[in-house]
Amino acid sequence: MTCIAALTLFSSIGYAAPTEVTISGQARFTSTAPLEKIVGTAPVQGQFSIDFEAPKVVSGKFTVPVKGMKTGNETRDEHLRGEEWLNAEKCESIVFEAKSGEVTKFQSAKESDKGITSIKLLVKGAITINCITKPLEANVIIKRKGNITKIGSSSIEVKLADFNVKGKEGLVGKKVGETIKINLNLKGK
């Protein structure tokens, strides 16, 4: 009996159940090319799981519908969805699956004056763009206050060639950057 009680106590201290968070917000992507800088936004939805008391493992899935991507010009948005670019007909969404996380800085709510849990981590996972999946690492910061959680990221860089996104011949590298920078701003409960 004592043993069971001790085990229960131990498990509640050391292995608190991960919290499931449903999150949504916006991804902002920037393409910088010699001829033009393009800034766009896309809605993001996702769920992830993390233990806010002892963050060791993070897992989750984030989805960006290609049809929701906007760059401020309808013709360009249409091209973006086309076969030569992100192929929205065949590959409806860009998906990032987080598989693990390496905590680089952790501050619990108890240690913070404002009661904010703050976790900086290097999330490792796989991203699927244009139906091609490649590994991706992203530096993110997760904050939680009460039951509100938010995720922000430093620039995540995605190389278009890795996902066979070629565009019209000659455009990538001149009018569209070879690498796209993505920043996330998500919030949820």
Partner: protein, 89 residues
């Protein structure tokens, strides 16, 4: 200078104006039909968070090369044609 040549000069001036407008508006490849309206708010975490929203571009003269290019091409060609015919007459 005959009337056709005067019209040709008018076409070239118009081309230069459209080109100048395109240059002055930032030389966009595509016309920015919508622009990002970025508002900054302090959230419950005490962080300043920018929120962007796409709104219709109020500047009707903010044209990209997709509009400026064909206009310049058309009026440039018209100007050359008028100049050629003007020289013949």
């Amino acid at each position: 200078m005959n009337r056709l040549q005067q019209m040709a000069v008018g076409c070239f001036v118009f081309c230069a104006l459209v080109g100048g407008l395109w240059l002055s508006k930032g030389m966009h490849m595509a016309t920015p039909q919508q622009i990002e309206n970025i508002t900054e708010k302090t959230d419950e975490f005490g962080d300043v968070v920018p929120t962007s929203e796409w709104v219709a571009n109020p500047d009707m003269l903010d044209i990209g090369l997709d509009i400026a290019g064909p206009i310049i091409g058309l009026f440039g060609a018209l100007g050359l044609g008028l100049l050629w015919r003007g020289r013949k007459s």
